[in-house]
């Protein structure tokens, strides 16, 4: 390509004055990287234009400068303060860059250590969570099994044709007390379901008795807190009636009959 011809085409003036089209600009900038004489010619025109513009300058009103400095002052304050904190900024440029380099290196190492720590911590946390999860799963399985056993037991109790249901009703002392006894006469198993028994002081417990030939037989103690749950009591082959009394915690060898809460007669009593 003939550079001289290109220079004389007016492209330089067109480019510098902002009148070149986008493709013309791109081409010119590309050619500038290849032809130093093109850059030199551009510089020459730029200097000429600048010189002419300076000769023909019109002093603007002073208040414009005040406004401009005010406007940029707001944005530059912070930056200026940051600059001042940097030591020996224009005096020792290489020292500054090596300092910067060392800072960057140190920061990188710290970052790496930090990330490594974070990685192991995350891994440990993950392991802990997995362990907890496993423990919970075991616990859940156990609970399920227990529930299943209870459900089976209940089904067994309720649906077994040999089981007699004895409805315990309240006495004059405790008219509202009620409970059900499920008594399997063949296996002698006795189950108790509390329906409504008042809460007792912590030093007292309910005690179930079987009355056999008018003699009480201890069938175990229970708390009223186990509401609507089937409680397995002590076995008995015989019982004309069941009775519930309030006794000292742990039970008594013989019932305190004046505190009898509930009484239910069985078929054997008839």
């Amino acid at each position: 390509m003939n550079v001289q011809e290109y220079i004389e085409s007016g492209i330089i003036e067109s480019y510098v004055m902002g009148l070149a089209s986008e493709p013309e600009k791109a081409e010119f900038e590309r050619l500038c990287t290849q032809y130093p004489e093109l850059v030199a010619a551009r510089r020459k025109f730029e200097e000429r234009l600048e010189g002419y513009a300076s000769q023909n300058a019109i002093p603007p009103p002073p208040e414009v400068k005040v406004k401009v400095l005010e406007a940029i002052g707001k944005s530059s304050n912070i930056i200026t303060m940051q600059n001042e904190q940097e030591p020996a900024r224009d005096a020792k440029e290489p020292a500054r860059s090596s300092l910067l380099l060392r800072f960057v290196a140190a920061a990188s190492v710290l970052l790496l250590i930090g990330m490594g720590y974070l990685y192991f911590q995350t891994k440990q946390e993950n392991k802990d969570l997995t362990d907890t999860n496993d423990r919970l799963k075991v616990s859940l399985d156990t609970t399920r099994n227990v529930l299943q056993r209870i459900a089976d037991e209940q089904k067994d109790v309720v649906s077994n044709p040999n089981v007699t249901v004895v409805n315990m009703v309240g006495t004059q002392v405790a008219p509202r007390s009620s409970a059900n006894i499920y008594w399997d006469s063949t296996s002698s198993n006795v189950y108790l379901v509390v329906k409504n028994m008042p809460k007792l002081p912590s030093n007292q417990q309910y005690q179930l008795w079987a009355l056999i030939d008018n003699k009480p037989k201890d069938l175990g103690v229970f708390d009223a807190t186990d509401d609507k749950v089937i409680l397995k009591m002590k076995n008995t082959q015989k019982a004309q009636a069941f009775a519930i009394t309030i006794e000292q915690k742990g039970g008594s060898p013989s019932p305190t009959l004046q505190k009898m809460q509930s009484l239910g007669k069985t078929l054997q009593s008839q």
Binding site: S9, L19, C32, R48, V68, L69, A71
Partner: protein
């Protein structure tokens, strides 16, 4: 922060990119007049508006100094184009157009601008003074392209001249301009 009271262009650019306030003061003191001149050559009839544009131009120079690329031209060239573009944008803004509405309404906007351009060559300053030395058919085209910001295509349409001719004439006019700038 201390620093030199005069700068080479290289030093000035570096200092500006480092947000040196003193360098910016130097820049303003040395170039505001030249840029104000170009702004007033474009916004010819409203000094208040020209002042606002000058203010906007220097704030933009401060903000955009990072984007200045020395390989593409001198700092002044870059600033001159910012000033020219800001002036033309103002000229074309709705508010400016509205302020001109009470003036004569030409039947054809383009023709109106062209006529106005020819008529305005009375008290020319700066580059416009040089334009007077050009042949009228060249002068009008440079006026429209450089001082009014019309594209070559727009000028071709409004003057009913082929696009190629517009381009050639403007290039020739700029080459002559270069000689007059000596």
């Amino acid at each position: 922060m201390g620093g030199p009271t005069t700068y080479t262009e290289q030093e000035l650019v570096l200092a500006l990119k480092e947000r040196n306030n003193q360098a910016f003061g130097f820049l303003y003191d040395n170039y505001a007049g030249a840029l104000y001149s170009i702004i007033k050559q474009i916004i010819t009839d409203n000094s208040e508006l020209a002042n606002d544009v000058l203010q906007e131009v220097f704030i933009n120079i401060w903000r955009k100094i990072e984007t200045y690329d020395q390989t593409k031209g001198r700092l002044f060239t870059w600033m001159l184009n910012i000033a020219r573009n800001a002036s033309i944008d103002t000229l074309r803004s709705k508010s400016y157009q509205n302020s001109q509405k009470n003036q004569e309404l030409p039947d054809n906007v383009y023709k109106g601008v062209a006529n106005q351009t020819i008529l305005q060559n009375v008290d020319n300053i700066g580059l416009k003074k040089v334009l007077e030395k050009l042949r009228p058919e060249h002068r009008v085209l440079v006026e429209l392209a450089y001082f009014k910001g019309f594209t070559h295509e727009e000028i071709a349409e409004m003057m009913s001249i082929p696009l190629g001719t517009v381009k050639t004439r403007i290039r020739n006019a700029l080459l002559q301009l270069r000689e007059f700038l000596k």
